[in-house]
Symmetry: C2
């Protein structure tokens, strides 16, 4: 696969395993919409890179994320330094007949560009999107950011104009000899799905003992609930 699709550039072409590259904006959006954490690169003034985990959301054709206005690294990002934001969803553990071909099933998005600081209505919309991504339905019930809280928040956007999508799904791809030579040909091989589940909600000490769990939490369908232990 050598074509360059919209959003893909020479820098984001997947050279090593091109059959794991995906050129489809719907797939790109679905991966970003399914994640909770992104990892973003920042470099300090000594040339030392840092990889920082951040909450994020997709807002139209960009990713938005936030940090503290007191964070040295976030302030550096806001200057428009070249950056990369990566979201990785782990879908399974792949067991081949060789250690070399054993792998993970995953979906991954890498976004390149320069972050832009948001303000005003656009910033508020981004904060709402980030809240909805992590805690769907909670924006309407919880206190929305006050002016003081907004002043303490640095909200950034990164366009999806330059990005790459990689996926691996399904069975292992064993080397031909491992499918015929004993003892490896006789091994069970396949994959074990990995699923991120929600556990039973835990109320904090300020919540009344007889208060039912918030309805917006019980309505969450963005991740499977772990069945209660009987």
């Amino acid at each position: 696969m050598t074509e360059i699709a919209p959003g893909s550039t020479k820098r984001t072409q997947v050279h090593r395993v091109p059959d794991r590259a995906v050129h489809d904006v719907e797939v790109l959006y679905s991966i970003l919409d399914a994640g909770l954490v992104a990892h973003v690169a920042v470099e300090d003034d000594q040339g030392q890179p840092y990889v920082i985990p951040v909450g994020y959301a997709r807002m139209d054709h960009q990713v938005v994320f936030h940090g503290s206005t007191a964070s040295r690294l976030f302030k550096t990002l806001a200057t428009g330094q070249p950056t990369c934001l990566t979201v990785t969803l782990l879908d399974g553990i792949v067991l081949a007949r060789s250690a070399f071909e054993s792998s993970m099933n995953y979906r991954s998005v890498m976004v390149l560009g320069s972050a832009r600081r948001l303000s005003g209505d656009e910033e508020l919309a981004a904060l709402q999107r980030i809240s909805e991504q992590l805690t769907p339905g909670r924006w309407e019930t919880a206190r929305q950011p006050t002016p003081k809280q907004r002043a303490a928040t640095l909200t950034l956007a990164l366009s999806l104009d330059e990005c790459s999508v990689k996926m691996r799904t399904g069975d292992p791809e064993d080397e031909p000899e491992d499918l015929v030579e004993a003892p490896y040909a006789q091994l069970w091989a396949g994959y074990v799905p990995l699923v991120e589940c929600l556990g039973e909600p835990v109320a904090d000490r300020h919540t009344a003992a007889d208060q039912p769990t918030a309805p917006e939490v019980l309505a969450w369908s963005h991740r499977p609930w772990l069945p209660a232990v009987q």
Copy 2:
């Protein structure tokens, strides 16, 4: 918390939320030993950073990870370019009474340094550790790397001499007014645990239909198994 513990330097002190910083090598090791994916920074010759997801393992006081010898970015890492490797474990979704204080429970390790390419016995030991991290018990049953496979693999190590550990656990930390002012004081607040579970193993098409799942897979206790749907 301003002291600098072993492994912590001025660069890795957590300035913003110092009570989330942890100085304990056992905690550091336990987080690294619980993860499956790290995100590592590499910069190309144009100054563009990339954040790459990698499988990894801890080996003594270093993290080891591998890539392809055909990967341009991995070859750049092997030159000893300053890098950062971050492991983030998501433990829960924290619902405060304000959107601002809503958060995630997590454990995170950030390692700074320069990667060193491994070879010989040290490389083989690292490959075994990486295999054991992802697929415990499989190294002994699957085919171990052949000379050709090892030649195609670039195995790197990064010392844990300079790193930071951050954690957030438990309840939200609401602003005092949100605990007394209606309607926010009446909101259910707390957290919802996030758990990465293993689903039912799926055999590949080369595995005999009546072959039981590999015993080493059924023995996995490194992650909870998702109960079968009845």
